[in-house]
Every structure is written in C-alpha cells, then in structure tokens.
C-alpha cells in the first residue's frame, strides 16, 4: 500500500516567532507508530492514550499491544520489553499494521527488540538517558548504536526524555525518581504534537486517573505539555504530519478492545434476554479484563463470582442457569481444559451456558500474553463422549459484542452451552466501534416452562420432551410448582428424562443432541470476490479477518483477483459452505495453529484445501499473506 505524501509549507504568516521556523506539514493517508519501553515504563498506557486521541480525532485505527507475561521482568532486559502499536488512517483499515513508520524506544532493549521491524527511512525517537554503558551491555550492544552508524538507515531523534521531564517538573518539588517516571507522558506529548492529535482528552484522563494524587496528576500533565512544547520549539523536527479523518459509515463511534466488547455483550445479555446474568470465572490472562469490566456493571443485574478455580467458575455459572439466570464463564485455553467436564454436563443437562475462550499460545501455560487460534478443535471436540456445542468466533474487537449476543440467543433458544472463541489479538487490540442502538438489539424469550407437559395427560412434567422445531427441551426453573424434576449427567430417557441405560435410547439421545446443534440456523457464508474472476478463495476464521482482508486488497491492487470469506460459525458450519468451497479451483486457509480448520474442511467436505499456518504468538501481517496468496493463485509462478 502506498502512502501519499503531500508536502506543503505551513502558513508563512505564522512563522514570525524569532528563532523558530515553521515545520513542514506532511499529509499521510496512514501511519503506524510503535511505542516500546521497559514493562515499567507505561508503554501500554501511552499507546492507549495516543489511540484515544486518535479515535476522538476521527481516524480509523487498529492497535496491537505486545507485552511480556511477567509483571516486571528484570528492568532494561529484552524479555522485559513492552510495546504498543497503533495504526491509524484516513480510510478504513483492517490491521494494526505490519511495520511501524515510527518507533519510540525508551531504552536500549526496546530499540534492540524492535528496530528490525522498521523499514528503511523510518523514524526512531529514543530516550537517550537510558543509553548508559550498563544498559547497552545488558542487551548485547558492544557500542552505543546512537554513536556509530548502525542506525544510518533511519531518521533518529535522540532526546534525553528523563532529563527534560525532570527539568519540566522542577517546580513541583517531586523527588527526582518520581518526576522521571512521567517521561512516558513526555513521549506522548511529543508524538501528539508530531501527529497533530487533540490533547484535551489526555489531560482530562490524567486528572481523573490521579484524582486522589493531584500532585501526580499535575506532574503528568506538565510532562505531557513539555513533550508537546519540545516538538514545537526545538528545530529538531522539520515536519509535522496530518492524517485526515476517515470516512466511516455514519454513526456514533468509540474506541473499543475485544475484551471490553465481550464484557459489554455480557452486560447487554441482561437486556436482550430479560435474565439476570451470573459470570462465574477465575482470573487468567488474557481474559481477566472481561471480569474486571463486568464487575463494574452490577446495576444491570449482573453478578460476578470469582471462584476458587476454573471448574468452580463454570460450575457456578451452570448452577445459576439451572436456577433460571444466564450462566457465563470466561477463560483462556488452559481454563477450557479444566472446564471441559462441566461443559459436558451442560450438554447433557441441556441448559443455556456461555463459555468464552480468549485463546493464547499453547500447549499448557504456553504464551499467556500472545495470540493463537489453536483451541478450535478443543472447543469442538475437547470433551468425553459425543458432546456437540455451537462455536462462534468474532472477527474484530468490536464484533466481540455481537458475537456474545449471537451466542446468548443460541444458548437460550436451544438450551445449550455455546463456545465463543476470541483470542489475544482481539482481546487487547482495539478499533473504532459504531455504538449500537440498544433499542434495536434483537431480543430472545427464555420461554420458561410453566405447565406440566406429559403427552399422556398425566399432569407430569417431562423435562426432555423437545420442541419439534428446535429440538430444545423445556427450561423449568426451581420455584415453579408441579414441574419438580431431576437432571444430571446420567443418560436420560428421551422425553420423560428418567435415568435410562437402554441401548436404543442412548443411540437416539446422542443423535438428538447432535441434530439439535446441527440444526441451529446460521447465516450463509458471504464471499467477497469483487471481480468475480478469482481462482483462489482465501477462507479464514476469527481474528485473521483483518490481515486476510488487508492482504486481499493488496493482491487485488496488483491486478490479481482473489476471493475471501470468513467463517463466524465454526459449529454448525453455514449450509452453503460446501458449495462455496466447490466453486473455487483453489482454497487457502490461513490459521494461527497447525491447520485445524483446514483439517475440518478436508474431512467434512473432501476439498483439498491448502493450509498456511503461523504460531509465533503474533498475528499475520498483510505483507506476509500477500505473498502467500500470490503463490497459491492457480497458474501463478511460485
């Protein structure tokens, strides 16, 4: 993708101040900035604030936080580097960007860990105060890269940010160490100036965040302003950049992360179902933020139970569902492994339950803070016995909200546990989100059973007498007179729900449970094939939506047609999936695992799909996929 640079001298009339010359204003259609520093340097906060400023300005954006699993890895080391990448543009973008145009490096480790991703000519802004011989040695620099020619390919701005911050805060009387800690706000101020970002939001944010420590609020605001002023008054920066507002569909927008969207979906579930919600969960990266957010919204009738373990979390949720609330549990892959038996119980009980898996790198503890899509087969098959559950995967951070509500409607209508597969990239990544109109959200009626239903007219209640259309069983909640009944993990007789060891009944019940889930209607798969001439279909699922779409744009811009489609429903699959697969001579499935969806498609549809996989803990890059697509187009020279 090309970037348009429109250089224009700023208004000469404004250039009157002695000793300063006006910076050149450069117009860009998109920019990628990466803030990198030590995990204690506040890079996530800095990136988050820059993103908020950018969102409120009206650009389209996408972000990628990347931080270590350790809370504070040893200071100044490579494993301790934390970064936050933000991609913003004047058009609709799909990914957090492949390579940063600007790298902010707060220490040598951050420089060393990230400089390899910067294209030639990229801008590097470093905090020179941390470039001591000790810190350089710690990360294996034999010589100071700021003093030799190793950074000759880049535009380097060496700024003693800690010193300048300390100077700006001298009047506050804060101890030197405390004052220096505000240097991330200095960096933010400088970048805000360079990219003409609005500042009021950040100042308001800082005053609210440190409301109980006004001296720290003031210090951070001063540092932020000092960074801004530094850009304005020194002549080191010859250009400022403008990225115009993006032309998004009409509406009210906000910035949202996948985890926040999941949390809002859980809260909104009370509205669409009329049920109370109980979130039973156990803290685990990268899902814990969902619990944090949901626990702030109790007024909507949402209860959070932070249980003693993963099993108890889902157990409490299922117990609440038995009681007529909507049980929800949130976790990551290792937690799904622990919850598997209870999810199987929910399959047997046929009660609504929402299970959210924010996938991370595995197996075992794996890569807690990195993304992966390797729980697909666990979600589908990771239980004993024939234990079908619907599986839904959102494709963008904002889509997490809709995915929760889709899953909730399915769980309530079909009395079934539903698995939602998010991942680390969606969880912490953010994008502009068109705020939905609450009044327009489709609702679902829990339709509790209130009357005995035995077909023999005996006045008994048969808990496993199914709705002939949905195959769902009645949901009778304690407190309803005359419907007292027992459910459990033992096989139940079709209809009456009594314990049954009858071979033919078990066969029938296994097929009924499978047919119920298989019969859940899901929308047809939509194919994006603008030219109608594509020979290659690229089929993805979940968070790969962004990079697949961005890569397809690039490939099409190069004159090669390519079709894309994205699976939101992994179980059941859309009814037209087989027909879509058969329509294209070649099908490519990029996944952040070793080909789990590809193997499902091969076994279900006997289609020779090609698999492209990546398990680095990082999302696909558009540049990388572009090359992969080109080599898979039938007839292409590879």
């Amino acid at each position: 993708m090309t970037s348009t640079d429109t250089r224009s001298a700023a208004d000469p009339a404004a250039a009157g101040a002695p000793g300063s010359r006006p910076p050149t204003v450069v117009r860009r259609d998109r920019v990628v900035i990466r803030f990198a520093g030590d995990s204690g340097d506040g890079m996530q906060l800095t990136g988050d604030r820059f993103t908020s400023e950018t969102a409120s300005f009206g650009n389209d954006l996408s972000t990628l936080p990347n931080y270590p699993a350790e809370i504070r890895a040893p200071a100044g080391t490579l494993p301790g580097v934390s970064s936050f990448q933000v991609h913003f543009a004047d058009f609709d973008i799909l990914t957090p960007g492949d390579r940063p145009d600007v790298l902010v490096a707060m220490n040598p480790a951050a420089l060393r860990a990230n400089i390899g991703d910067l294209p030639k000519g990229g801008v590097v802004i470093v905090n020179t105060d941390e470039f001591t011989s000790r810190n350089l040695t710690k990360v294996g620099y034999a010589a100071n890269p700021l003093e030799d020619d190793s950074l000759a390919d880049f535009q380097v701005h060496a700024i003693p940010m800690a010193t300048l911050t300390r100077g700006a805060l001298e009047s506050t009387g804060l101890p030197k160490k405390d004052a220096e800690r505000a240097k991330n706000m200095f960096a933010l101020g400088l970048l805000s100036w360079m990219y003409s970002r609005p500042q009021e939001g950040t100042e308001r944010f800082l005053r609210e965040k440190f409301a109980k420590r006004p001296e720290l609020a003031e210090a951070n605001v001063l540092a932020f302003r000092a960074g801004h002023a530094y850009g304005e008054t020194t002549e080191a920066f010859a250009v400022v950049y403008e990225v115009a507002k993006a032309k998004l569909p009409e509406g009210t927008y906000r910035q949202i992360t996948g985890n926040t969207a999941l949390a809002y979906g859980i809260v909104a579930a009370t509205h669409v179902t009329g049920l109370e919600v109980l979130l039973g969960t156990y803290p685990i990266t990268p899902a814990s933020d969902i619990l944090h957010e949901v626990s702030r919204h109790k007024a909507f009738g949402v209860t959070t139970v932070q249980a003693e373990d993963e099993i108890a979390g889902v157990g409490a949720a299922l117990g609440a569902s038995f009681g007529g609330a909507l049980g929800v549990t949130t976790t990551s892959g290792p937690g799904i492994a622990l919850k598997a038996e209870t999810i199987g119980l929910a399959v047997a009980l046929e009660l609504p339950l929402l299970v959210i898996d924010v996938q991370r790198g595995g197996p075992s503890t794996g890569l807690p803070t990195k993304t992966e899509q390797a729980d697909l087969l666990q979600a589908l098959h990771g239980r004993n016995g024939e234990s079908p559950v619907p599986v839904i995967a959102p494709q963008t951070p904002g889509d997490c909200f809709d995915a929760v509500l889709d899953a909730v409607r399915m769980a309530v209508t079909y009395r079934t546990p539903v698995m939602l597969l998010s991942d680390g990239a969606l969880a912490n990544g953010s994008e502009p989100w068109q705020v939905p109109d609450v009044a327009a959200l489709p609702t679902v009626d829990p339709a509790f059973a209130t009357e005995p239903n035995a077909p023999d007219g005996s006045g008994a209640f048969w808990p496993y007498l199914r709705d002939p259309e949905t195959l769902a069983r009645p949901w009778a909640v304690p407190g309803t007179p005359g419907l007292e009944h027992r459910v459990g993990g033992l096989e139940k007789a079709d209809g009456s729900g009594a314990i049954s060891y009858d071979p033919a009944n078990h066969e029938r019940m296994v097929h009924l449970r499978a047919a119920k889930v298989a019969g859940i209607p899901v929308p047809d798969l939509e194919v994006d094939d603008p030219s109608g001439e594509a020979q290659l279909l690229v089929l993805g699922w979940g968070s790969t939506y962004g990079p697949i779409g961005a890569a397809a744009r690039r490939v099409r811009a190069m004159g090669t047609p390519v079709a894309t489609a994205h699976l939101r429903h992994l179980n059941p699959f859309p009814a037209n999936l087989g027909e879509v697969l058969a329509r294209y001579p070649a099908v490519l499935v990029p996944e952040m695992n070793l080909g789990q969806l590809a193997s499902l498609l091969r076994s279900r549809h006997l289609v020779d799909v090609q698999s492209y996989t990546k398990v680095t803990g990082q999302p696909f890059k558009a540049e990388e996929l572009q090359d992969v697509f080109l080599t898979h187009v039938p007839g292409a020279a590879s």
Binding site: E250, K298, G315, G324, G344, P478, G479, P481, V487, G489
Partner: protein, 361 residues
C-alpha cells in the same frame, strides 16, 4: 465479625424461602424413582430421615433443590420429588453456590460423600465453607469408595485393606469436622445414619442456620465396609464411645452415674480436652458445650480418632457470619439503588462510554 455491614435483619436459613400453603408429607417428597442402593445401605435410613424431615420445615417443595456430585450417595436427588441435579464428581458445592447466589428464594441442599467432597471436590468444599454460602451440605461418610467398588477413601483408616490397598492403606485420613472448622465453617454437625432422632436434630439446626452448614453423617456401606460404625451402634459399646452435644449443657456421656448424668465427662487438659470419669472430677471442670467457641469445637473434633474410641455427635459449631450470597446480592442491590437515583441503569450510556465521535454530521 463481618467485613461488610449489610444493615440487614438477622435472617434465618429459610427466611427468604416461600412457605408452603398446606402441610406436606414425606410422601410428597418421594419421587417415582425406584431407590437403587444396596440392601442394608445406610443411605436408606438417611433418605427416610430427610423425606420425613423436609415437610417439617414448612417451605414450598418446589423451592427446594438437592444438588449432588458423583458416588452412591449422590443418587440421592433422584429419590426426592423436589428440583434436583446429579452433577459431576466433586463439583456440587460450586454448582450449588451459583444456584444459591442466583436464587435467594431456594433452600439448597448438597449431598456428597467422603470421596466426592474430600478427594476430588476438596477445593470446592473448603471454599464453600469459608465463603459461607447459604447451603446445607450432607457429607455421607462411609470411609470407603462404594460406587467404584471398594477402594480406600480420604477418610479410611490408615492400614485399611481394600481392593487398591492389599497391604493396607498408607494414607492418613481427614477428620472432616476438623477440616471444616479449619476452613472457617460457621456450622458443623455430625450424626449417625441409624440415629434418626439425632440426625433430624442436626438437620433441623442446619436448615435454620443462615450460611454453609456441613453435616457429616456416618453411614454404613454393607458391601465394602460392613459394620464400620457398629461400635457406635451396639448397646454394649456405644455408650462408652458416643458423646452427644447439647448447647449449654455439661458434656457428659456413658451409662448414668450417681447424679443421673453420664458416668464420663469431658474436661479441659492443656489446650485440648480429655475424657474422665465424672465421679473423679470437680463438676465445675466439666466442659459446658458452647457452639460459638471455635477452640472448643476443634478440641471436640479431635476427641474422635480413627478407631472411634470417642465419637462426638451433634452441633459442634453454629455461629452467625454474613453469607456470601447475601453479600453478593447486597452489592448488586446497592449498585441498582445508586443507578436508580440517577434514572436507572442506562445500557446505552455504558456502551457509549466517555469518548465518542460522530461521523456524518
């Protein structure tokens, strides 16, 4: 002491459960399922006691739920004509916690065994106890694995020869009462399956207690651990071994002595207790049972050893502490009240957040 003053009246265990409109009988609580425990199983006696006892509570049958785990005793819910869930191994306290939090109008009973609650489900048991959820946990302790056909359990005596321990078990057993007290339980009781009167009295106190009540029930497995509690039943041995607790009464047991009370007495010794002949101690030194005294409760639990030399039954501990489910609901109520003061919770406003921008003005 409670961390949060909820400003709520001191509720009993059943105060939020609706009352039945007409008297109910044991038959009303009997489901149409054929009971399938082994002949002679102690579970029959407990089932009969519970079926007779439940109607005396006067609460609506449809507001009663039995939740169990896995094991012989966990078939219990199928035999009660109430709402019920036969769940998975060890997890009943967790499931019941969610149910009790969601539904203050239910009387929730957990039925579990020594393997279910103390092996695979040990974690959920101790956390239910410390949280003090309004649940009644009936722990059927037969000191053996029955459903899996006769392996030693976490309450089996050291040295016990079972199918999985042909040379004798080397596991040291739990004392469930000591464990529960250590887990901050607010109510701990013990009864014997065949002692209908004693069992019913403990169940009654448990039902009235607001919070988690753990009732250990010694229960005989005639197939794999036959006669394991016979010394506590036989008239020639039981009186010297069984110590029945009554709040406010001196702890005396055994055949009647000169004063008409038991010939044996429990007296203090160091930080613990010992059994003495009542005639040989100053009556003032005989311990008076106080269910609010956790130190006494623990010391009493230690009088019971693996060989059942002395076995205490009755209510060890019964104290009031804010229940988890009440506290959780109070926070939800508080949040709702706060929202209502500003026009009620507003989902649209939450979704908008603080920083929005409009496209298409």
């Amino acid at each position: 002491m409670t961390a949060i003053d909820l400003g709520m009246p001191a509720l009993g265990g059943l105060d939020l459960v609706p009352q039945a409109e007409s008297p109910q009988t044991a038959k009303d609580f009997t489901s149409d399922q054929e009971v399938r425990w082994c002949p002679g199983c102690g579970d029959y006696a407990v089932l009969a006691a519970v079926r007779s006892f439940m109607p005396t509570l006067g609460i609506k049958r449809e507001n009663t739920v039995f939740v169990s785990g896995i094991g012989c005793s966990s078939r219990f819910p199928y035999y009660m004509d109430t709402y019920g869930m036969h769940s998975i191994h060890g997890r009943a306290p967790a499931i019941a916690t969610g149910l009790a939090v969601a539904r203050p109008d239910l009387s929730v009973w957990v039925v579990t065994g020594d393997g279910d609650s103390l092996s695979i489900g040990g974690n959920h048991l101790i956390h239910a106890l410390r949280r003090n959820v309004n649940l009644k946990i009936l722990l059927f302790n037969n000191r053996i694995y029955g459903l899996t056909k006769g392996q030693y359990s976490p309450t089996s005596e050291t040295g016990k020869v079972t199918k999985s321990s042909p040379m004798g078990s080397v596991d040291h057993p739990f004392n469930p009462v000591s464990l529960a007290l250590g887990a901050e339980a607010t109510f701990v009781g013990r009864a014997i399956d065949s002692d209908r009167k004693g069992l019913t009295a403990v169940l009654q106190a448990a039902a009235e207690h607001r919070g988690t009540a753990l009732v250990e029930i010694f229960q005989d497995c005639p197939i794999f651990n036959d006669g394991s509690f016979d010394v506590l039943r036989r008239p020639e041995t039981a009186p010297q071994r069984l110590i029945r607790l009554t709040a406010g009464e001196p702890i005396r047991f055994g055949p009647a002595g000169e004063d008409g009370l038991g010939a044996y007495a429990v007296v203090r010794e160091g930080f613990g207790l010992r059994v003495a002949e009542a005639a040989e101690v100053d009556p003032a030194d005989v311990v008076v049972h106080d269910p609010a005294d956790v130190h006494l409760a623990f010391a009493l639990s230690r009088l019971s050893d693996q060989d059942l030399t002395h076995t205490v039954t009755g209510v060890f501990r019964d104290v009031r502490r804010t229940t988890y489910d009440d506290a959780v609901r109070a926070q939800v109520g508080e949040a709702r009240a706060a929202a209502d003061r500003t026009g009620g919770p507003d989902l649209q406003s939450v979704l908008r957040g603080r920083d929005t921008w409009t496209v298409g003005d």
